[in-house]
Amino acid sequence: MLNLRVLMDKKLQAIVQKLEKEFGATASEYRGNVTLVIPAEHVEAACKKMQELGFELLSAMTAVDYWPQENPRFHVIYQFTSVSKNLSLTLRVPVPGINPGLPTVSHLYRNANWREREIWDMFGIKFAGHPDLRRILMPADWEGHPLRKDYPLGYEEPQFTFNFEEIDLRKPYAKE
């Protein structure tokens, strides 16, 4: 923990301490990037605080699936950048696997709109209060959430010479 404080920027240190106290976050640092793990109920308040502290840009928002090693299964990651102060900070929010959901931050950061749609499409995490939550990468009638770890990796069985005919019979060829 001593290394952590020495390497961080002074301004960033103050911000991290404030967030830790207010939201019960745990901080960690890796090669100059600071990550705070925040519980799911404080997400909206934390993002509002970040905006007040001067982080006007949500540079990235994504999610990771740690099934089956970790529970809660999903981590939603927000990466903020402060253009005025030249700082960047990451927030991680663990989300459980049953009925995964989080409040939306698209009213605070406009670019979160499409990123939350992508997270819904790929992971199935619903964002309460999102104005237009629908699929963005897959076709609209697709079933399943592809980037989950229990989604099958390949799509079809590869055809080799020994199983060519039996797979050929099942392949969906187009009518004229």
């Binding site: 076709p139 390949g154 079809e156």
Partner: protein, 160 residues
């Protein structure tokens, strides 16, 4: 050929209507621009001056499906693009042919996953498959010449 030589001085050649129509179809077949991914670069290279496709009648590539007879599907087709591909194929007037260029259009290529269609013949009927990742311009030209041979042997009764 023998007939031509005999009657060459008179400027008369005899042939069947089928042969004449098929010959003229192969001599001026206009492809539709359907380059989706990396194979499109090779298609452009084939159209350029070094490996010239205009020698085979493909002087220009029409972006509009209504004015083209050949669709060269060059590149990977994603699941979201599939209905668009089918719509453009339906908009082409008869007679029409489809060349599936490259591995991704023929069988899914290296992408065996949820996002890429495993072969474009799931939505459109394909006449010639050209293998390669990407196929060399000579490979694509070989595919086009194969298509021409098939067109030359088409009968009127087969036209849908």
């Amino acid at each position: 050929m023998g007939v031509e030589q005999k009657l060459g001085n008179m400027g008369v050649v005899t042939t069947t209507l089928e042969q004449a129509v098929n010959w003229s179809r192969t001599r001026a077949m206009w492809p539709m621009l359907f380059g989706l991914a990396c194979c499109a670069i090779e298609m452009m290279a084939t159209q350029a001056s070094h490996y010239d496709m205009s020698r085979f009648g493909m002087e220009l590539m029409r972006p509009s499906p209504r004015q083209s007879d050949l669709m060269i599907v060059a590149g990977r087709v994603s699941r979201k693009m599939a209905p668009v591909l089918r719509r453009l194929y339906d908009q082409m007037p008869e007679p029409k042919w489809v060349i599936s260029m490259g591995d991704c259009a023929s069988c899914g290529g290296v992408f065996n996953n949820y996002a890429i269609m495993q072969g474009v013949d799931e939505v459109v009927p394909v006449d010639v498959y050209v293998a390669g990742c990407p196929p060399r311009p000579e490979g694509l030209i070989h595919g086009i010449v194969t298509l021409y041979e098939e067109v030359r042997s088409m009968k009127f009764a087969e036209v849908k």
